[in-house]
Amino acid sequence: LVAPATTSATGSLDKAADASRDHSSHADLPHLRPSLARLALATAELDGNDLAQRPELIERAAAELVVHQPDATPDDVLTYALGLAAGSNAA
């Protein structure tokens, strides 16, 4: 059912990844470049992760994590945010 448009699926995903890495879709609109926090929030939404309902926690997690791990991924942020959430729930 899924018909390749112009390239293989693997090739397509690789190119999409490259586009994301470069944020080249926003080359002319730099203020629209996604921050790590926004990417983490979007990742949570894609996963149906409850953290998607807590954008402020994701913002905090991204801000804190990037200080120690400049190359942190959105998934790293969510993992850290989960820990923050557990800590705040336990307190």
């Binding site: 059912l1 899924v2 018909a3 390749p4 448009a5 112009t6 390239t7 699926a9 397509s12 995903l13 690789d14 190119k15 999409a16 990844a17 490259d18 586009a19 994301s20 890495r21 944020h23 080249s24 879709s25 926003h26 002319d28 609109l29 629209l32 996604p34 926004r38 990417l39 983490a40 929030l41 979007a42 990742t43 939404e45 894609l46 149906g48 991924t73 959105p74 998934d75």
Partner: protein, 142 residues
């Protein structure tokens, strides 16, 4: 690739136009998914677009104005085969409020590798589709 991300008409329109009010939101979702595609063991979703959606949203891949969406989504077209058309008709019979285009989205959902995520501004109808089809998936509201 571990599942499918289906784009609806407004998602396509938002991605096409950098000045669309929901462009940033839609692009964030696509970018977040793409990042997972560059892992050594990719877990990104395959981005797909039913052809009726592409037509309705005016996404001509050969149009220079479509260069942005071509570049950032690399979405794959889903053709509507006879079996899908039958399912689309059946969906409209049980959900008369469904547009023809949304019914083709339903047909695409019905045969897409799960889990299915639908990037849409029409969350209610899409949730109904998922429920009716019994497909493992969820809606990402645009």
């Amino acid at each position: 690739v571990t599942g499918t991300l289906v784009l609806d008409c407004e998602a396509v329109q938002a991605l096409k136009d950098p000045h669309h009010p929901k462009h940033r939101r839609a692009a964030d979702i696509i970018a977040a998914n793409a990042i997972r595609g560059r892992r050594s063991a990719p877990t990104s979703l395959r981005v797909v677009v039913p052809v009726a959606v592409r037509i309705e949203a005016g996404w001509d891949r050969t149009d220079a104005a479509a260069s942005t969406i071509n570049r950032i989504t690399q979405g794959l077209d889903i053709a509507c085969r006879d079996i899908d058309a039958n399912l689309a008709v059946q969906l409209r019979a049980v959900m008369p409020q469904l547009s023809v285009v949304d019914a083709t989205i339903g047909a695409a959902i019905g045969s897409a590798p799960p889990p299915v995520r639908i990037l849409t501004s029409d969350a209610d109808d899409m949730r109904r589709l998922l429920g009716y089809l019994g497909v493992l998936g969820s809606v990402v509201v645009l």
